[in-house]
Assembly symmetry: C2
Homo-oligomer: 204 residues x 2
């Protein structure tokens, strides 16, 4: 059986781009976490998984050393913000299939990576799952505050590398809109995530 | 025990505003479905649930007749769009605790309603859960396309009632952004939902 065709939907990775926390380790064993999208491509009944890793990122450096990464499925927006803007400390991690993973994630998928494309900005890898664990299943209604926090986090990472003032001004307005949605629709976790984000990336 | 304090988190209704499909029936028994937010208020350890129902809506008319509504927890964006812009046909419904509910929902919560506020635009009701059923638990990664479809659906309902051209122009731009996210990050279900939305509310 071709490992690449294992369907990971049961573990939360479905069609399109699944936003997860990717954990990796350096050759020396140091863990790292970053929010990254896992791309699911389906054609002729075959399912393939990919990831784009940007040059200069710690995740890419680790993957080039170890040919391995783990996808941590979670909808905890605090973890998304922290993984995007600070180093997660050791307490967040545990070990699964010899890889560092996030203790609180709902599912873990360990992949081996095969380089398929190298562009000027990123490397693209095809992913083959080698170990899967579902820790927790739940039912959860859609929350617009949760969604807005994810968009706000992505926007903030772009704000930091945007230089022109007009672009920044538009981003500030967009961020205000997300902050309003979090305030109106989010729970305590979303509001805490927004506070952390506004401290890390003050949008001034 | 005060029914109003039953914690519905296990059934997917958590802090902030939970976006669900509210199903109701008329006195004569005719089912109706609409996307609506269930508001969870927490103070001093007490949890209360509320809903705002807008004047002129079929949901409000039914609730005034029957003092009952059901919250259907789902993340199927096709159902959100259809419930917002067309009448769901009978095949979508089944029955739970004498209420029409959506067959495919992950959880059902039946509430009785007590009017607490009447404003010029809406009625606000406090909700007391009388029956709860969890049909399906799962693990699912965050998908930006799913989130963007929800925002696009809300935007489309507003577009229809916005008259000034500048407001409409801004909404068109926002809708384009959502369509791009759905195209890039969504799965087939999100793409189908966007096709339906663009047919129902052409944004011209």
């Amino acid at each position: 059986m071709n490992e690449a065709s294992v369907n990971l939907e049961e573990a939360g990775i479905s069609e399109g781009i699944a936003e997860v926390i990717v954990t990796t380790r350096s050759d020396a064993g140091k863990p790292h976490a970053a929010p990254i999208g896992i791309i699911t491509g389906i054609n002729e009944e075959e399912i393939k998984y990919f990831v784009k890793l940007y040059k200069g990122s710690r995740t890419l450096a680790n993957v080039l050393e170890t040919n391995t990464l783990a996808a941590n499925v979670t909808d905890d927006v605090v973890v998304f913000v922290k993984a995007a803007f600070e180093k997660l400390n050791e307490n967040y991690f545990t070990s699964f299939a010899e890889m560092p993973v996030l203790k609180e994630a709902n599912a873990w998928i360990v992949f081996t990576t095969a380089l398929t494309v190298e562009s000027s900005e990123y490397f693209r890898f095809q992913l083959t799952s080698t170990a899967v664990k579902v820790n927790r299943k739940e039912v959860k209604a859609i929350n617009r505050g949760r969604n807005a926090m994810i968009e706000a986090t992505i926007l903030a990472t772009r704000f930091e590398i945007t230089k022109d003032e007009q672009g920044r001004e538009e981003m500030r307005k967009e961020m205000e809109r997300y902050a309003d949605i979090v305030k109106k629709c989010g729970g305590r976790r979303e509001k805490e995530a927004m506070r952390i984000l506004q401290k890390k990336c003050p949008f001034r």
